[in-house]
Point group: C2
Chain length 333, copies 2
């Protein structure tokens, strides 16, 4: 069973997941580059090669775990956490650990191997965003969990192990450190100003107009003032809302439009870069926070200095967000 361990100095939990392992001797060899072609368990027709589906969008006459779907959610075959069992906390001297209970699911975004989130239609992208919400709403009922993390690794250098376009969901018995920091930082700001810091950012960016890449009636896409990496982008709802799953269903089309545009701009401006995105939403049971504002963070994978920056929390960015904004806006899509 995987194990969650807490760093004794920092408020950070890590998963030690030796079930999905790589034996130690495997680290001797470098990771092999992702291969194109060959067998793909996520393609239509190969449904039996994934664990049974949890959720799917299907044609009326199709049956579960068979062809005829446009989107499928399945458990990760090599889950970082185990869904079965009770949460069990334990101290080992000064250290803290708990057993690795959680959900780890894969959202297969299209039956077609060649699709990507930047090439599929708006309607299909709405389906993906709606599937995220569907799974969040379902997993929120599980009292063992405190946080649901939705993220996407696109491309090998961003950590994707399969080429076929997919996102991932991890439901956790803890709140990830970065989210905790945003909750605390935004709370501090709120207790001083009595305003949401993200709402204030939207306000200031809208008047300064130097870092807005795109906006529509409901959403705004911008380069943050102090980006940790080149071309980092945030997408935020203009209306204050802390929880992704409370976003009105009829807004998802606007969200799909702006996300699609941003991914197209990145593809065009940077030559189809690998990227990660992650949804930062409020923790389970905190559906009504005045100080927190859900958002998507997108990070194209362009630089290689992560190791040092990992160790220091100190980022050197070789391009200003004003310049990257301009460059993305000028991309002809």
């Amino acid at each position: 069973m995987p194990e969650l361990r807490k760093d004794p100095i920092l408020d950070r939990w890590v998963i030690i997941s030796t079930d999905r392992q790589k034996r130690s001797s495997d680290f001797f060899l470098r990771e092999k580059p992702q291969t194109s072609g060959g067998f793909c368990p996520f393609c239509e027709g190969n449904e039996s090669k994934t664990p049974p589906e949890i959720f799917a969008l299907r044609r009326n006459n199709s049956t579960r775990n068979n062809p005829g779907w446009s989107l499928r959610v399945v458990p990760n075959r090599f889950p970082a956490l185990t869904i079965e069992g009770d949460l069990d906390r334990e101290g080992i001297g000064m250290y803290d650990k708990m057993n690795g209970i959680g959900a780890h699911e894969v959202i297969i975004e299209s039956p077609r191997h060649e699709d990507t989130l930047s090439t599929i239609s708006i309607a299909k992208l709405v389906d993906v965003l709606a599937a995220y919400r569907e799974r969040i709403v379902d997993l929120k009922q599980d009292k063992r969990f405190r946080y649901i993390l939705i993220f996407k690794n696109h491309g090998h250098s961003a950590g994707a192990s399969l080429e076929h376009s997919h996102s991932q969901l991890i439901a956790l018995p803890i709140i990830p450190k970065r989210v905790l920091e945003e909750l605390e930082g935004s709370k501090k700001y709120f207790s001083y100003k009595e305003r949401c810091v993200y709402c204030d950012i939207i306000h200031q960016e809208t008047s300064q107009r130097e870092r807005i890449i795109s906006e529509n009636s409901s959403y705004i896409a911008l380069s943050p003032f102090a980006p940790k990496a080149p071309f980092e982008i945030w997408i935020l709802p203009k209306k204050h809302e802390c929880a992704y799953d409370k976003e009105p269903p009829d807004s998802l089309e606007s969200l799909a439009r702006i996300l699609s545009e941003i991914l197209k701009r990145l593809d065009k401006a940077l030559g189809n870069p690998d990227y990660n995105f992650i949804i930062h939403t409020s923790p389970i049971g905190m559906d009504d926070l005045d100080h927190f504002h859900w958002h998507i963070e997108i990070m194209p994978k362009l630089t290689r200095t992560a190791g040092f920056e990992w160790g220091s929390g100190f980022y050197i960015n070789p391009i200003s967000p004003e310049e990257s904004t301009q460059f993305l806006k000028e991309a002809k899509i």
Copy 2:
């Protein structure tokens, strides 16, 4: 001039360093792999290709910026920060910035291109460790600085842009976020227990003996209980000391011995991996902290998932520190 900008939500500063830039259009192209062979500005005989030296260990009859050295410290030719100027803080609406004053130096560890820290003699490694201290002591006198960061990127995937073995030093007008977190976390522990958390870790590890890779009379090398990446290693002084530069000079040989052994074990066990290391020491003006304990963190670059983990602060480690410890101890060096 480079600029320091603060994230409005988190306690994190970033450097926007467009002087050393890459123009935006360069991001379109992938980074080129580091090339072996060809001209190297760090090799003996090419002294005129670096900025003038700040510090060097030389044969008696040799002259500044000429051959005859065994170690050289020079300013980084493409510094992330500028050494000249006054610190100037400014608010832009809700945002904070200051001009990018700081030092960025390169420690060239050997005149020979083929040397690495794991292959040079203990005496030469002592010289490297002593040069770190020398530069820290000197830069501490500059009242504009609050922190001096020493780090090493070894190999292309760890962020090294030149192959010739070197470390880097950055003197900063702010304290990097990760160091701040360690200072705060260890202070919280101290105020509860009245003991240094790192001293307690050494104590518990010494009695558990599951994660100690090596130790000598003055230093211990261990795998942390909750490592953020496979084969992460910490080296700590056994005797409580918060500042690297206050380490007794006659201890540096013991430190060189354990560091050399650890790097050799990594080379052997993992096939000469790329790696980063970083020294976490106390900030300038805090030379006598009961709660903080200086240490080196070493991270071999083995996995590719940094992007997602960057965005969440949430780490999935496919090997337990007990197993990686065992694997490193068994390496025949």
